[in-house]
Symmetry: C2
Subunit: 157 residues, 2 copies
Amino acid sequence: MENSNSLIEGNNLRVRKLELSDKSKGFLELLRQLTVCDSVSDKEFEDRFKEISMYGDDHVICVIEDEISGKIIASGSVFIEKKFIRKCGKVAHIEDVVVDAGSRGTQLGKKIVGFLADHARSMGCYKVILDCSDENKVFYEKCGFKKKEIQMVKYFV
Amino acid sequence: MENSNSLIEGNNLRVRKLELSDKSKGFLELLRQLTVCDSVSDKEFEDRFKEISMYGDDHVICVIEDEISGKIIASGSVFIEKKFIRKCGKVAHIEDVVVDAGSRGTQLGKKIVGFLADHARSMGCYKVILDCSDENKVFYEKCGFKKKEIQMVKYFV
């Protein structure tokens, strides 16, 4: 069952959807722990936030806020792909899962992936997929995932 | 450079975007060569077609029609994911590439992947990714892709 805004017991940690004001709560600094994430202006952030919001439940970004520090300490996104195969089925894609270095080993990653997978299930997807490095395989196995295929990439820049 | 509607020289093969009328040209029968693809009603097909069309250039399905037989003999899809990382970058995801069994070995798969990758580039994506089986790795290498990560999956049904 999806729990779209919940407090993790006794921890002052709020699990919820991304909000526009999260730019000032360290959301981009958190993503920087995942990969290249240059600074963007408030306008650029807002424009991208609005573009993603237009997809409604088809593209959701989940964050965990530490309500004491006011910082975003974990995040992940999921979007729903609409297909013709499997009786016009839907597949969810999880992307950009990251937990702040200072909060790792506290099950927050599992919380994020659980939130995103619950959302995918509630949207009627027949499966949820993601790509990860070999090192993160064990983590995702603990989240109920299994290795299936290989990821191929072509860079333009 | 993207060529959104082109005839393959001397072959009577038209490379173009999916049209609603392709249901009656064997589009679903083609997808059935890829995976489970149960029959759907005209209404279900139209609804899904419209849902995908609403995304405009952010979700494009490419097909190749044999204009002599009037059949769709190859297909593939691409959708554009909007991110915050990489200066609010965009990533393209290629899915459901299939070539009719009777037309394999004639470079149509390469044509489809080329069309989709060109679209991704023209949309400003910094990379295009896809998941495939180990057996298809060599094909995608010929299309300019490299192996990167592993795909993990969780089934709901």
